[in-house]
Subunit: 71 residues, 12 copies
């Protein structure tokens, strides 16, 4: 059995609805192009304001995924 | 066109319901007295406990807004 | 009247539903064995991914509670 | 009952005597112009030296106070 | 001779008088139930304000103590 | 002689030219409405990109100024 | 199936031999009294020097373990 | 309209001339292979010294860009 | 001569043996697909525990490598 | 007039009495061998415990002093 | 060939002109008394304000230099 | 008995072999010129890569030593 190596990529998911949905949207987009997703960690919660209201939540995340073996 | 300067104020929004609602309440209160709100950034998520349950979520935020030109 | 001392313990609450629910679950479990819970502070928001989707939100929290007097 | 919002302002209190007195002086000055002061948190302890001795302790603090309702 | 292991617990000591006294009160309470106390490290200095004055200093501390051997 | 108290406000200065100019612009705007400016400290250097080029440098700063005595 | 809650305890493992051995010694001692150990995270690597040589490596760690259900 | 996801990549731009030029060089190189660049944030300012003089400024930056939709 | 730009990628190397070996395994895997590797910096040392013993050391690293010129 | 350069040295002052006295003792010792002391900044407040009581407060400080011109 | 050891000293360079010049002035002063300077890292960018304008930029830096062999 | 003051110096030890050996080499070099070494604390673990392999581990450390009395 091998000692796996993981890569960590950083993304920002966004949503007008809230923190959970912004996380969900970011993970969904990441899973469209990356395989082996294993964990995420929130690094920042921000948002954009327009006319005194929250237009978008922006949640920064590190996302870890397992690298495939090279042989 | 001018190089805008922004001011950053720090607030704590609260809610018994959850993190999103505490953010919303804080922004709503800030927009009652400040114009030109542009972004927020969460700095802390805390809460007050009573009788073993969450009485209030308390979300610290930095809120940025554009200063008007002085002429 | 006494000068109370508080103890701070660190837990990780989990939930497949979202951040608020993970906080709620962790606090509920802590209140099953600790009395005098007073506040919590989120230290980390992570999650476990399976098949490109969020399997569990994991929210790290410090939880403070008042120590009883020793006499 | 309302969900209060708090504002956090940052000050530096000073004193030639020590840390506690610098905190005290800063809070006293803040309370002269702000109502509803609720908590403080020390962010930095510095000091100015003259002739090899401590001329002033300078204690940075965040001070939180409750915003009044707007109606 | 053994390689000792230490445990680190986190407490908050309080006092209306000042930082040193809050540290002292917290350590005194910790020593009532823990043996082998070895060091402390201040992690946070806060306080509660009432009527524009300092009601309590609250000093967060990590306290390290030596675990007894298991045999 | 009095023990002065200082207030610290946070601003973001911007400029298309560079870091020094963004600092300069922010300080100039702050000095239009605040007296007794004493020091600044850079907290963040960011920028906005358009068409692959730097449109604006954005420099976050804390700015300290001496509060006037209340009597 | 339940949403598990984890507790995080902080220890310092020591060894005259090196970092890995200090981690190993600390985990071994923790496993003597705690069940369900799940992960550790190094928070600090320090050491004690005597006569210009390393007497002990001291490795601070957070150790997470699963709390049993309460029913 | 979609909720965009952004990716954040980390680069180090270098220049013998100064901080602004090192930022500029790094962004220019990034824009040669990435589309949709949106913002940068400086994470570190270092430099290499040779013969007691600054040979290169090295500016670490996070660079955010919008991911294209997958359909 | 050119002003090189570097890219920084983040990986997690793993090993059941220890910290050095986990670093080594991660770098070896990274060098299988990246050219011009120049430096690494450890960002986190964690590990997975099974049956009270260390199953894997997990070492987070930033790895910097020189980007090739675009012409 | 010249652009002064300052050097920053790090010390730990100790005292059985309290934080202020530990700062005072450290500065007094530093001023015995260094000229041009200008400021200090507290980086850490720790202490050594013996028999459940505070044996020594240990206050880490950065101390800045002006370097003399070289001509 | 030997395994070199480096020492890291901390300085603050100043200039009325800007960040780059303050870095340059500090390095120039350091190189007057230290040999083997190898790298610097900016730790803080501050400045002194007088009459609402920037009197001096103050740039804190860690400077690393190679220690000579002892034989 | 006196209240000792300690000085903290920062070094970087290096080794092609691993983290422990880099710490050891740095401490050995420091002890060649400093007396009264008391503790060290690792601040950074980095390394230099050549041809896809680890050429040197570089371990940053703060090293504390007791200052002699001045009389």
């Amino acid at each position: 059995m091998n000692d796996h190596t993981y890569r960590v990529t950083e993304i920002v998911g966004t949503s007008p609805e809230g923190v959970d949905q912004a996380i969900h949207n970011g993970i969904e987009r990441a899973s469209a192009t990356l395989r082996g997703l294993d964990w995420f960690e929130v690094t920042q919660i921000r948002g954009h304001l327009e006319n005194g209201e929250i237009a978008h939540y922006q949640v920064g995340m590190k996302v870890g995924f397992r690298l495939e073996e090279t042989s």
